[in-house]
Symmetry: C2
Subunit: 594 residues, 2 copies
């Protein structure tokens, strides 16, 4: 492609709308244009990157025997009502765009396709002899994000590969799940990315096991915890670890002590001269279920630990049936207004005990179990502990479960953190890294097939629900993640496998006939050799051309400049900026061999 004929405009300045480097660079280098909030046009250079990523995804998926198809983006509401997700997705969370057609029928724009594919499988798969099956598609998806941001990272319209598999047993599912783990690793390796596969929370999709694929980058939205030996890695939302050992409590009898100005664990610990591991910290949350019911939750956790709100959310989802609900739509620290609604009198924040007596919780809130107490595993075995007294400026010391306090329901809601010992090998300490989630694979089990009555006849002649898996990889997000992982002060450094073009031939001065002639010849030779090449034949200054070439990030740059008199051209690798003069006739082979 000749740049003189290409609709390509680069920007000198960082666009104000962009917050992270990859977003700025894709806008500045003319890869994408913003059309609306979270909605971008993929310009020709970007589209080439996306096609290359898609092709790698397709090849690796096909190699596993999965079959490509294309499912509708417009989805009838009744399918989502069957699975029970319509209200959650369109109203409670509002993540699915919905509309009505001219017949006033409700439709949704697909953020994901479990419902559609399960309906198809229900129709087509009658017998165990037709199983297993695995269908996938590469498609634009829609999500009405609360806060679209970071360009293609969290857009409202984005390209995904999503696949769905159907099985007779969890064992068969596990085989395909393992195939997908390998395929996803291959995809990311072939795209030239450094990444980690991590244990993950299954979130709204549901199911048992799930794993995320994280492209490592400093600006990643997710925190990963992993062990140096590479045997354990998890999203911080899901990570488990061994907390530090408990230091023996200095207290042996229960008493209430005045502890002025000790609203934080650090202050209590210092004032009472005890380890934070002796303290039971009590944290208030407010949860709203999709049925509209609101609950107040008091979580007791060891003083040196923090609550993992994703884990807490999952515990509350388990309790949803108690509130005529399917899921929880918000989980927040209650603000003053909310506190007034709950509390009979102003809450002693920073001094709350493992229970809030009638003094604080309005009787109306105590009925129907809308006040919940939970204890993290870290407090279960504590003895003679320090905790709040429900009175500002006072703590109690030497407390024990079963004596002064009743142990609430015990759950795991603790956040693992860097430096913790690994649960799997206590000699390994957890390290931290930041990543961008580009893939997620799930063992769904029978969640959707059961809800939608999607069954087959087993070998034993029984109707059984399909055991299902689903597997997603964000094609447009992956492409931007590649930039986030690989750039320098001058611009993008595309990995060769997904670069829009592999080489760019620059004519410094288009009035110089010799420069033009050699460049045209090289441009033809490179393209003929299967090396996708750009020709910068624009009527611009050489400096502008070099700056643009750096910005757009093409792996190899060939300049038909001064060294032509020696039969040579300048050959520059974008990643290292390593430059050398090489004979004109060696250019093609040099790139092919690199």
């Amino acid at each position: 492609m000749r740049l003189s004929q290409m609709l390509w405009v680069t920007l000198r300045e960082d666009p104000a709308e962009a917050e992270i480097p990859s977003h700025k660079l894709l806008l500045r280098a003319g890869f994408i244009r913003r059309i609306g909030s979270g909605v971008y046009a993929y310009m020709p250079l970007m589209w080439r990157v996306l096609q290359k990523v898609s092709q790698i995804v397709r090849e690796e998926m096909n190699a596993t025997g999965a079959l490509e198809c294309l499912l509708p983006q417009i989805q009838p509401a009744d399918l989502w009502q069957e699975s029970g997700r319509w209200d959650t997705y369109t109203k409670a969370e509002g993540i699915m765009f919905s509309l009505v057609d001219r017949q006033k029928r409700e439709l949704g724009l697909g953020p994901t396709h479990e419902e559609v594919i399960t309906a198809i499988a229900r129709d087509m798969i009658k017998s165990y002899r037709q199983l297993p099956q695995h269908l996938y598609q590469i498609q634009t998806k829609f999500r009405d994000e609360i806060r679209p941001r970071f360009g293609l990272m969290r857009g409202r319209e984005f390209i995904m590969k999503d696949g769905y598999s159907f099985h007779t047993s969890p064992e068969s599912l596990k085989e395909t799940y393992a195939d997908m783990d390998r395929a996803y690793r291959n995809i990311l390796s072939r795209c030239g990315l450094s990444f980690r596969a991590v244990e993950a929370d299954s979130g709204a999709i549901g199911g048992s096991g799930s794993q995320e694929f994280m492209v490592l980058a400093d600006a990643g939205e997710d925190e990963i915890l992993y062990t140096e030996d590479g045997k354990y890695a998890a999203n911080v939302e899901k990570a488990v670890s061994l907390p530090a050992d408990v230091v023996a409590s200095p207290f042996s009898s229960f008493e209430k002590k005045e502890t002025p100005n000790t609203e934080t664990i650090a202050k209590v610990s210092e004032f009472l001269q005890c380890s934070p591991t002796n303290i039971v910290k009590n944290v208030l949350y407010q949860g709203v279920y999709d049925s509209g019911k609101t609950v107040l939750i008091l979580v007791s956790i060891r003083g040196d630990q923090d609550v993992n709100e994703v884990k807490l959310n999952n515990e509350l989802v388990k309790l949803a049936p108690n509130y005529d609900a399917k899921t929880i739509i918000s989980l927040t620290v209650p603000d003053e207004n909310a506190q007034q609604k709950w509390a009979s009198k102003s809450l002693p924040l920073g001094y709350i005990a493992p229970d809030l007596g009638d003094d604080y919780i309005a009787p109306s809130a105590q009925v129907e179990g809308s006040f919940l107490r939970l204890a993290d595993e870290t407090v279960k075995d504590l003895t003679n502990f320090v905790t709040g007294s429900n009175e500002t400026g006072y703590h109690t010391v030497g407390g024990n479960w079963g004596k002064e306090f009743t142990l609430p329901t015990v759950v795991d809601v603790r956040k693992a953190s860097v430096g913790d010992r690994s649960l799997h090998d206590p000699t390994q300490l957890l390290q931290t890294a930041r990543g961008i989630e580009v893939g997620h694979i799930f063992q769904l089990g029978t969640k959707y097939s059961q809800a939608m009555g999607a069954t087959y006849t087993s070998e034993a002649g029984k109707e059984e629900p399909f055991v299902m898996g689903c597997y997603g990889i964000g094609v447009s997000r992956l492409a931007q993640a590649a930039v986030e992982q690989s750039y320098d002060k001058d611009g993008i450094i595309w990995p060769r496998a997904i670069a829009p073009y592999q080489a760019i031939v620059i004519i410094p001065n288009i009035s110089d006939e010799q420069q033009v002639k050699v460049a045209e010849q090289l441009y033809n030779d490179l393209n003929s050799a299967g090396i996708d090449t750009l020709l910068d034949d624009r009527n611009e200054r050489a400096g502008v051309k070099f700056k643009d070439a750096d910005l757009v990030g093409i792996p190899y740059r060939v300049v038909t400049g001064r060294s032509l008199k020696d039969g040579k051209v300048e050959f520059v690798k974008r990643a290292t900026k390593e430059a050398q003069d090489i004979p004109i006739e060696d250019v093609v082979q040099t790139i092919l061999n690199d």
Copy 2:
């Protein structure tokens, strides 16, 4: 691909929902599944066809220098408000799905992309030196059709290639338009289709010239008129021709005659013993503009001719500004209710004169020009003509414009028909054929660039609006049109270039080791030779396999059956059913050479 592992289910019976052969066959052969009204899942076989068509489209577009991109499907309402199409598309015609996001902003689902691409060009193209440009995309589009039908032919979600070009002059536009004409002919030829390029009406897209590409098929929705010599072809909506010569009128003086029971032209002609070419026929229409205004239109046309409502519609759109409107949203023959609204007394249908006097048209309707008279060119030069008298049972004869009657505004609203002489070569008579519109190319001119203020600086330093073209080809519709053009009683006959697989190897009896061994070898050899091949290794009766192979329409069938004992296999061409036994080792070469 092994059929034993593929999610593929054929149906024995024609599905009730399908009306035309291609729709029935695609459903029966398991290519598509209906998910909702006008919304289909493309199963793996169909997706392969669509990918093959897309790849041919892509190659031919790239060969013209057009650049592929991908524009958003979600489009902000404000862009469509700028072009003035929002209300027409979402409300008056309601063809565009619209929705509101969580911020209550209005969005549309793209049926076409003039607005988005014009906004991008307005941003990026500042100078004549950046022109011409041509961007295209292959994408799923949405239309909220009034009556979705015929499967992929008129769906609410379908795949299109749409391209948009930007120019400094109509001459530059014409060059790209000619390139697209060639590219579209190449695409259809390469897909193995028989087609005609025809002059077309530009409809709601607007602009000056336009041409449609019609795949010929008996069930086509469109009628094409063409000359035997191939020099003229047009959609009947747009076609022009020479009407038959006028036979001299037998009347020489104006008088009113009693003509009982002569409501039709045939009856008048017979009763008065005159040629239909002597008669002025007066036809009533009612049009509703998007501003809500309604007009009554009386069209005078020669007795042997019919009104082309598309041409009439276009004439009325030209008058839209008189009614504070942009377009017309309905054009119908007024029913009795409508007539009562207009008429002071019951209308003398079948006997209407070229004007309806105060006797009939209520004074309220005559104000503001809401009663319109138009004359087709065929009546302009008639003399001593016969026409209605505004009195049931009476006609007038020997009438003349400028004497007894005032000639209304003259327009071309006549329908060309089979047997007419060609306007371009009167020795050629128009023939008729039916077709399926799969492509449409438009010279848009400055319609969108002017409305949206999309300008560039010309060589003379002036701000000028872009001259634009747009070019669409229906990928999913083309794929189904191929089936509509090519099938027999047993199933589909795919053209080789777009067949999902080129060959199918059938093992009649999977318990026969020799049959399996040879089939497996052939399956590998064919795929290795680049011939996409299916292997029917299902545990089914041979008869079922042969029936399915016919139904699915793979061009070459290879059967490892009885002739194996002679070192041969049966080789069958799907199109002709021509069967022969050929040596096993000749199979690959036979297909490659065919």
